[in-house]
């Protein structure tokens, strides 16, 4: 194999590959990227056995062929090469080395046989549809903060993507929760998606997927089966196993009878929470919200380090209420609000609280209070 490829193009493909590759590998081949050259494209494939990414890049192929080389090393080399350089990759099967040349730089890297590289088995996808990148970005960006990292409840370690009934008919819905907070994000149901099986997309996949979604206009081909999910742009295909588990029935967690309504400027609210939380060094900083007629007093009382209080003008017309929350959870939820005011719906100091943006029910958040 001998190919020449522009440094920028190569860097994009290789960085995608190296981020999928696990840092610590017991199986050496999994640290490698599989490079396959044919016609006028080079294809870069990397996997951690759960996720596979394939990136096609335009290249001048002098001699077709394929090999595997350390994804991390190749990435580091290409990253350090000057912008605009033309990089030539030459595979010498006799020595088992891959030569990387650019300008006056010359590298020789150890390779492993391509036959050893595990290629993810292809799957029959029950459902194929096209979704807009901006739409998918909103679904995952607004839900991913609530993904759990707790390994015993592994079925919470991802975003539950499924089709659901909402007021206006069927929607494509993403839900994530860690038992302390929950995010439920809806979007229009893309054509052809109505039969999609519900799948739990793992945290790492959500992170890798995000890199495909920067271009608003891009159409993403989505394929879903019971065990796998695939997101593809014309150049990049991301295939991932889904979490084999049952996502809990989240619908009973979302409060419907909360009547005490607080409306507040989300940005001001977030800043105030952040300020008062400064005095506490606890990992689980509790912020107390004291609500009275159109007035909100945020306070933190950390006996060891100090106390803080801040008052905000808000819209609140119900009876007095004092309720505590983890400051980090409040901040994360408030930062999801970008257009209108944040609307909180409370019940009591011990019950889950609901938050949404204005009257928009397509993005709903639930957070569990804390004893203060």
């Amino acid at each position: 194999m001998k190919i020449s490829i522009e440094r920028g193009t190569l860097l994009k493909a290789v960085s995608q590959a190296q981020s999928v590759v696990e840092r610590r590998n017991t199986i050496p081949i999994l640290a490698n990227v599989l490079i396959e050259a044919e016609g006028n494209t080079a294809q870069f494939r990397a996997t951690d056995l759960d996720i596979e990414v394939v990136d096609k890049a335009a290249a001048m192929v002098e001699r077709a062929g394929s090999t595997t080389v350390s994804a991390n090393t190749l990435h580091e080399i290409v990253r350090k090469l000057p912008d605009g350089a033309l990089v030539t990759l030459t595979d010498d099967s006799a020595t088992g080395r891959l030569t990387v040349e650019a300008g006056r730089s010359n590298f020789s890297l150890a390779t492993l046989p391509k036959e050893d590289f595990p290629v993810m088995a292809s799957s029959d996808y029950a459902c194929n549809f096209t979704a807009n990148a901006a739409q998918l970005r909103r679904l995952f960006d607004k839900s991913k903060f609530a993904i759990s990292t707790e390994e015993t409840r592994y079925y919470l370690n991802g975003v539950y993507m499924h089709v659901s009934d909402a007021d206006g008919g069927k929607v494509l819905r993403c839900v994530a929760t860690d038992g302390h907070r929950l995010a439920r994000i809806d979007s229009d149901l893309p054509e052809g998606a109505s039969d999609m099986p519900g799948v739990i997309v793992p945290r790492k996949t959500v992170g890798e997927l995000r890199k495909l979604l920067d271009d608003d206009e891009m159409d993403i081909a989505v394929s879903v089966s019971e065990t796998k999910v695939r997101f593809a742009t014309p150049d990049i295909t991301l295939t991932s196993k889904v979490i084999d588990g049952t996502f809990p029935d989240y619908t009973r967690v979302i409060p419907t009878g909360n009547t005490r309504r607080l409306e507040v400027d989300a940005a001001e609210f977030a800043k105030a929470v952040d300020r008062v939380a400064t005095v506490s060094s606890e990992r689980s900083r509790a912020v107390k919200l004291a609500l009275d007629e159109d007035r909100l007093i945020l306070s933190v009382n950390a006996p060891d380090s100090g106390a803080a209080e801040e008052e905000l003008a808000v819209a609140y017309g119900d009876e007095r209420l004092e309720i505590g929350f983890n400051a980090k959870y409040l901040l994360e939820i408030a930062s999801q609000v970008d257009r209108e005011n944040a609307v909180f719906m409370f019940n009591s100091a011990g019950d889950p609280t609901l938050m949404r943006e204005g009257n928009d029910t397509t993005a709903v958040y639930v957070v569990m209070p804390m004893r203060v």
Binding site: T152, R153, G179, R252, A286, M370, R371
Partner: protein
């Protein structure tokens, strides 16, 4: 050379025998009246308490521990002469010493006795750091004026009073830091008083085994062995960088210990680091029902201990020992510290399910660590487990009933398994 009669607390010069009381128990050292960091370790504590309370046991080998499958928690000095050691399986101990009197531990009595010893130590200095019921560090720096006597005299008086007023004996290690004080208390047991001075530290350590370091267990020992480190002299050949590269934070500590340096303070703020309970089965088992019952009981015991001390923990640990003695240990950090049996149990159970079927097991244990004050515990509930709040209330109510009518007054069905 400074010297002290340990029987009548007279400060002596070079006499072999105390001119005042005629006693021979004299401790002698150049730095005797300059050193102030001490470690007190009771001699075969549980066994001494049993012998104190039952004089018939006085000249018999006494072993404290559970049933046939249990391990020895303490052996008296008579049993030790026969080769019985702590942590030895009971059947082995009985093979070595068939006439041993096995006594089931009476923890509440030991706790009570320990409190009385603690009170005596508190009279010497506010800086008392108990390591367990029967040993503690003390920092007596700057107390000589207050007591009108140097630390060595006060320490000799302490063990004397322990023997006379409480009826248990202890050994003192006196040195210039915690590590060496702890090493010293073990040199002259029982009823010992050993001193390691600054001047002799290097010579003293040189040919000693690194096993002596508190915290170097079998696993650490093995990795030290592989590195060719057996004695302190071996350690001295390594530079700080090499040691910390190879052994992480332990390496850094080893480098200092090799030079007899230990900067840790004697901290009175008794930091409880973990609470754990474990049980060794009468027969190895893989019965899920039985194991689950134990898991609940142990979780409850850990929770009881946490509640009793006003503590809570953020990390739950599950420990399983398989029939071939290999150890499985799993841990999980909770978002919210807990002291509730219900939360400890459900977390431990989740870990147990994660381990899968690797039985039969001979031991199961549950632990709680990353300890915080209970005011930081159980602050929030789980969205996905709305019944948890009810179960917590039930547990609090159960606790009240048990506090009033005894710990068996009310039990969960699953603890009967």
């Amino acid at each position: 050379m400074s010297a002290l009669c340990r029987d009548c607390l007279t400060e002596l010069q070079d006499e072999r025998r105390c001119p005042k009381c005629g006693g021979m128990r004299i401790v002698r050292h150049d730095e005797l009246f300059d050193l102030s960091i001490a470690h007190m370790d009771c001699d075969a504590f549980y066994a001494s308490v049993e012998k104190r309370d039952n004089p018939e046991l006085a000249d018999k080998p006494v072993v404290i521990g559970g049933g046939r499958r249990g391990v020895v928690s303490t052996a008296c000095y008579i049993a030790r002469i026969r080769g019985v050691r702590s942590a030895m399986p009971m059947f082995q101990a009985l093979k070595l010493c068939p006439d041993a009197v096995v006594v089931k531990p009476r923890m509440s009595v030991y706790v009570e006795t320990s409190k009385r010893i603690r009170a005596l130590m508190d009279e010497l200095t506010p800086a008392v750091e108990p390591l367990s019921l029967d040993e503690a560090f003390m920092d007596l720096t700057g107390t000589a004026k207050l007591h009108g006597a140097p630390p060595a005299v006060m320490l000799a008086r302490l063990v004397k009073r322990m023997k006379e007023e409480i009826g248990v004996t202890g050994s003192i290690g006196l040195s210039h830091n915690k590590f060496l004080a702890k090493v010293a208390s073990d040199l002259d047991k029982p009823q010992g008083f050993a001193v390691i001075g600054a001047a002799e530290t290097d010579d003293f350590l040189r040919d000693k085994s690194v096993r002596m370091i508190w915290g170097v267990g079998p696993a650490a020992q093995e990795s030290l062995d592989r590195a060719g480190i057996h004695t302190f002299a071996d350690l001295l050949r390594w530079d700080q960088r090499e040691l910390s590269d190879r052994f992480g934070s332990m390496g850094y500590r080893l480098w200092h210990l090799a030079r007899g340096q230990d900067k840790r303070k004697v901290s009175a703020r008794n930091p409880v680091k973990s609470i754990s309970k474990e049980t060794t089965f009468f027969e190895d088992t893989s019965s899920l029902d039985l194991l689950d019952g134990h898991l609940w009981r142990l979780s409850e015991q850990v929770a009881d201990r946490a509640k009793a001390t006003g503590k809570a923990g953020r990390v739950v640990t599950l420990k399983l020992k398989r029939a071939n003695f290999s150890l499985i240990s799993r841990r999980l950090s909770l978002r919210d510290a807990t002291q509730m049996a219900d939360s400890i149990y459900s977390t431990a159970r989740g870990l147990f399910d994660q381990v899968g079927d690797q039985g039969p097991y001979r031991l199961i244990g549950v632990g709680l660590s990353d300890i915080v004050d209970e005011s930081h515990a159980d602050l929030s509930a789980d969205l996905l487990d709305p019944d948890a709040a009810k179960r917590r209330k039930a547990e609090r109510a159960t606790d009240k009933i048990r506090a009033r009518f005894g710990s068996d007054a009310i039990l969960k069905g699953r603890s009967m398994r």
